[in-house]
Symmetry: C2
């Protein structure tokens, strides 16, 4: 079945591949997690236009873009780092940079691609043009002890923030001199398991697995150190069963409020970003995984862990409650909004398709076949901070 | 001198023009206000790559982009609407759509370009593909009386918000059915002279020339009508001499605060966007014209009206004061930040050049010759709301 699907997709798309004189602002890609393929898509026509294979293990893979929007850098689970040309629809370069990796990021000036690795624990910086290794910063938190790195995100001035799972640290590494990186270390709490930078690039937050609460570092004043906020955020004293730890990267800030997935509870937490205090909870239909704001912040789209991973709830931030409930497909893994938010694309892994909806009236606009799709990444990310 | 400069620029750039297979995420254009030219630029190399003439009167001209980033739509002062191909570096189509125009906008879905006109007063919608006229909405505020239209900006759902100078209204026109637009009208106060939509697309604000204060319409709840905020904002009772009315489009929202040019005073006002109350004033070296936030909100760059139009002040929003003062050239008219904010480009009209600075250390990175440059517009605007 999977082979047949792959052949079908290849036939369908082969005719269209090849170099094109065209803008890149409305392009993107869909990760096909189990087959090592990516499908390239156009968000104006809402159609795929090419498919590229040979990218290795793409479970939990993610992508960032060159500042011209032409090239994608795809970080695979197996340590593969692949540079793809969206116009020529081909692999430009591929390196295996570690044994076990979990995403990466690109510097503000677009020159440096940084991968975060579990094994060996640390980060590595590559020249975005050539993928030549520039430097590496091992996540050695005690002599001879190396941590898994999580939550890597770019910040201003070619710096990157990330956290060390075993080390319990947040780090900032400055690659302004790419072969001589400088690293600052901040104690952050027990077992940070994921992190994010707020949309304005100011705060790095790390979720903690080993204790309740969130570690917060003000990147504008890192000398103040990391502090703990939302002391009750976590699995709590009851230690509820958690089917899947939520993705922090999906956190949303809209209208001065942050919307966070509760852990183990069927709720989205609302937090005032001026005080970092919880100001509300919104009931939803499952354990939230991604809690993502439409670019204008009017809506928050929420998907869920098993067994509710076929459902999606839409919160209206003005009404403060869920205003639309849908079941767009089986195994909804990820969502990506069109740059200005008119549409949303959702990966339905177990239906082997991506489904596209109008966010204003919730009408279904189309679907795209894909082999176990997971992450969806549009080129508009090239212009954003904190990815 | 001007002719010589034009010839020199044409020679310099002609070799590089022509269709290119390349990304469009790092492209942009510089308006050369008095000669009818635009210079096309690359923000990665920080170099011009082509120059296009024949665009008519470009004083006060502005540009928006197609959602793929390939095409720019340039609104001239003489009613000219010109569609440019940034990859082929040529004019695709040009129409004279009115006698006297003042900018325009593009719909959320990228299909409709709307121009706002002084004469005849009203807005006109064009097909973004062909520039075919789809419909027009005259700004008739009383039988037989037509207003100048100001402050046009796109909002969610292919709607556009704008204000009527003589009519004293804010209007929202919905082009979801482009040949059958629907318009809502809201009384807004005396002589709105410019407007903007907040970066999240939620609020439309119009500055008032005929009275003090700002008219504010919540686009999420337009049924509540426009209300007046900042009652003292304006020329005040003393009626200070105002050398140039500031551009509202340059207003900035950063970290929950809006930064506004004071009118006639050497100050930038700080307003809490949760309450819309003034919470501070920052002294600067002239009457501010544009008050623009770096994309991360850490810095606010301010230029000034004559006779201080050779100066630029940089406010650090964390420190709440000016931290850098510079004189980057004569007649600084406009500023544009690189999409992720690492650099800023400034038009020095009377020096016939655009100067480029690093925003982190204020180092000068280069300059580009241009004939009386005014507006600078990068393709990253394609992905933004409210332009």
């Amino acid at each position: 079945m999977r082979l047949l699907l792959s052949l079908f997709l290849a036939l369908l798309l082969n005719a269209c591949a090849g170099p094109q004189v065209r803008g890149t602002g409305d392009l993107g890609l869909i990760i096909e997690r189990s087959s090592g393929y990516v499908t390239l898509v156009n968000t104006t026509s809402r159609q795929p236009y090419a498919r590229i294979g040979g990218l290795g293990d793409l479970s939990h893979a993610s992508a960032v873009y060159s500042r011209d929007g032409r090239y994608a850098f795809i970080f695979g689970r197996d340590g593969g780092l692949t540079k793809i040309d969206l116009l020529e629809a081909k692999i430009v370069k591929r390196v295996i940079q570690s044994g076990n990796a979990i995403g990466g990021s690109i510097s503000q000036d677009g020159r440096i691609v940084v991968a975060q690795n579990y094994t060996p624990g640390g980060i590595k910086a590559f020249d975005a043009e050539t993928l030549e290794l520039l430097s590496e910063v091992p996540a050695e938190h005690a002599p001879g002890q190396f941590s898994k790195v999580v939550g890597l995100a770019d910040t201003a001035g070619n710096k990157f923030a990330y956290a060390l799972f075993e080390g319990g640290e947040i780090r900032i590494t400055d690659f302004s001199d790419p072969k001589q990186p400088k690293t600052q270390r901040f104690p952050a709490g027990s077992q940070p398991y994921d992190g994010l930078v707020t949309p304005d690039g100011r705060y790095f937050m790390a979720g903690l697995f080993g204790e309740d609460g969130i570690a917060l570092l003000d990147l504008w004043q890192p000398e103040k150190g990391a502090r703990k906020i939302l002391e009750k955020y976590g699995r709590g004293e009851e230690k509820l069963p958690v089917f899947k730890m939520p993705h922090l990267r999906g956190w949303s800030v809209a209208q001065g409020k942050a919307y966070l997935p509760a852990i183990g509870r069927h709720e989205v937490l609302v937090v005032d970003v001026a005080t970092w205090k919880e100001v509300g909870r919104i009931p939803v239909r499952g354990q939230p995984v991604f809690v993502m704001a439409r670019p204008d912040g009017r809506q928050i789209w929420v998907n869920f862990a098993f067994p509710d991973n076929g459902k999606v709830d839409v919160i209206d931030t003005l009404a403060g409650q869920v205003v639309h409930r849908m079941e767009p497909g089986k195994g909804i893994l990820h969502m990506e909004f069109a740059p200005r938010g008119e549409n949303v694309w959702l990966s339905a892994r177990d239906d082997n398709k991506v489904v596209i909806y109008n966010t204003e009236n919730f009408a279904k606009l189309g679907e795209i076949p894909a082999d176990s799709p997971s992450g969806i990444f549009f080129t508009s990310r090239a212009a954003r901070i904190g990815f």
